[in-house]
């Protein structure tokens, strides 16, 4: 506890560093996964190829991916962009299938109704299909965000890891309090981000709230 109180500025700095590494990949991954998921849902071949590639990317352990990206990207081994790209790859791999499943689960009658009302395909996708798919996509996004927040710490082994640097530092200098504080802050960030995505889901799907309220009879 004394270590924590004496090093609040270190914890704050590492936390900011951590968020900068962990959160952009989640947003980037989502933006990339939506068109890919649409493609996977549209064509059988697209689905087969994308799910297999995603499965493969998913299988590669994080530390190995952090090291394998530099020769592919032309970055240096010690470059924080490797961590961001690797986490984006994981997010896309996780969300492509989720987005495809979510779009596939939109009831056909709703899509047909929108078509009958004169929605052109692109507008129908943005205004009807995507909003209907939001709950499932956000469930996947929660997994991706929490994984990303946790995986950033692995980067500290090769020099970039936000709060993970509290693990390597605490290990080398034998300060258990620093390691425990790092774990707790990672868990808290994960919990808060998870809660925020959950809240975002409520805001984005007002029709579900109305349904629930009616169900409770209030």
């Amino acid at each position: 506890m004394t270590w924590v109180l004496g090093n609040l500025d270190v914890i704050r700095e590492r936390t900011l560093e951590h968020l900068v590494l962990a959160l952009p990949p989640v947003l980037l991954g989502l933006v990339i996964a939506i068109p890919l998921g649409w493609l996977a849902n549209r064509t059988g071949a697209g689905r087969a190829i994308l799910t297999n590639v995603a499965g493969l990317a998913y299988t590669i352990p994080s530390l190995a991916l952090f090291v394998l990206l530099p020769p592919l990207l032309g970055t240096g081994i010690l470059d924080s962009r490797n961590v961001i790209v690797a986490l984006t790859v994981y997010t896309v791999a996780l969300l492509v299938r989720t987005v495809a499943d979510a779009l596939g689960a939109v009831p056909t009658v709703i899509v047909d109704a929108a078509t009958a009302m004169g929605y052109p395909p692109a507008r129908r996708f943005v205004a009807v299909e995507l909003p209907m798919a939001v709950p499932v996509i956000l469930a996947g996004l929660r997994v991706a965000a929490v994984s990303s927040i946790s995986l950033v710490t692995v980067g500290s082994v090769i020099g970039f890891g936000g709060l993970g640097r509290m693990f390597t530092d605490g290990f080398q200098r034998s300060i258990p309090a620093e390691i425990i504080a790092g774990i707790v802050v990672v868990l808290v960030i994960a919990l808060v981000v998870d809660g925020l995505i959950l809240a975002l889901g409520r805001v984005l799907t007002p029709w579900n709230r109305i349904g629930q309220a009616a169900g409770r009879g209030t």
Partner: protein, 245 residues
């Protein structure tokens, strides 16, 4: 820079620090951890799934685990237990058990109620239903859990090289220490290949062990109209137990 030169240098393929020896170490850690994880998680998961008690705890545990930073757990346990095999192995077991537990629980829980009814109607009782009907029906999800768990263990064992464990992760950590980037890249390629091959092999095990009636594909009867690619809740639960590692 010639990144692949290291990998094809014969001198790196012999001796106690050569690729085969490190691969055997990595395999050994993975097998040992999975064995302990299976012994703990399958009976517990089967019991929770069969009785329906404690399901919430399983879901919470798996979700919490995804947020738990593996490196933090490793350095903490090694700090508590001391440098050696025990600390990292305890950390590996803690990370390996929950996906298997979740897979077994979800598998047993999601067995079609009509199938269990039929078994009971045929005179089967508690243990008979569990071992003769529920567990075989749960096998795809149990193996799914073992697959997630295996990837988690292979990945964490790689990171554990940082706290002194052997295995393929040594090439990454030692290469970093001596600024030998080709060695790091060779180690990463080997780790990635190891994970991919292990995953493919376990995928093959599903084909060998699981009853043909459960493997999806052509179903003998279609009572309700099949909507295209509706997410299967059981499969979603099994997938949710894993994550990038």
């Amino acid at each position: 820079m010639n990144y692949l030169g290291w990998l094809f240098d014969g001198s790196h393929w012999t001796g106690p620090q050569g690729v085969p020896a490190r691969l055997v170490e990595h395999l050994g850690y993975t097998a040992l951890t999975l064995l302990v994880g299976l012994l703990v998680a399958v009976p517990l998961g089967a019991w929770i799934g069969h009785t329906g008690r404690g399901g919430f705890a399983v879901v919470g545990l798996v979700n919490g685990l995804r947020a738990l930073p593996t490196l933090g757990l490793l350095v903490l346990l090694v700090g508590l237990v001391g440098i050696g095999l025990l600390g990292p192995l305890v950390a590996l077991v803690i990370l390996a058990a929950p996906p298997i537990l979740a897979g077994t629980y979800a598998g047993v829980r999601n067995v079609d109620a009509a199938v269990v009814d039929a078994a009971e109607g045929m005179g089967m009782r508690g243990p008979g239903v569990l071992f003769g009907v529920e567990l075989p029906n749960a096998l795809p999800l149990i193996i799914g859990g073992i697959r997630s768990s295996t990837l988690q263990v292979i990945s964490t064992a790689t990171i554990a090289a940082y706290v002194g464990l052997g295995g393929l992760g040594r090439f990454i950590i030692d290469g970093l220490a001596t600024r030998d980037f080709p060695e790091m890249i060779a180690g990463s390629i080997l780790v990635a290949l190891f994970a991919i091959v292990a995953d493919l092999l376990l995928g093959g095990v599903v084909r060998l062990l699981v009853s043909p009636g459960l493997r999806g594909g052509r179903r003998p009867r279609r009572l309700r109209p099949v909507s295209p690619s509706r997410p299967d809740p059981a499969a979603a639960a099994a997938r949710a137990s894993g994550g990038p590692s």
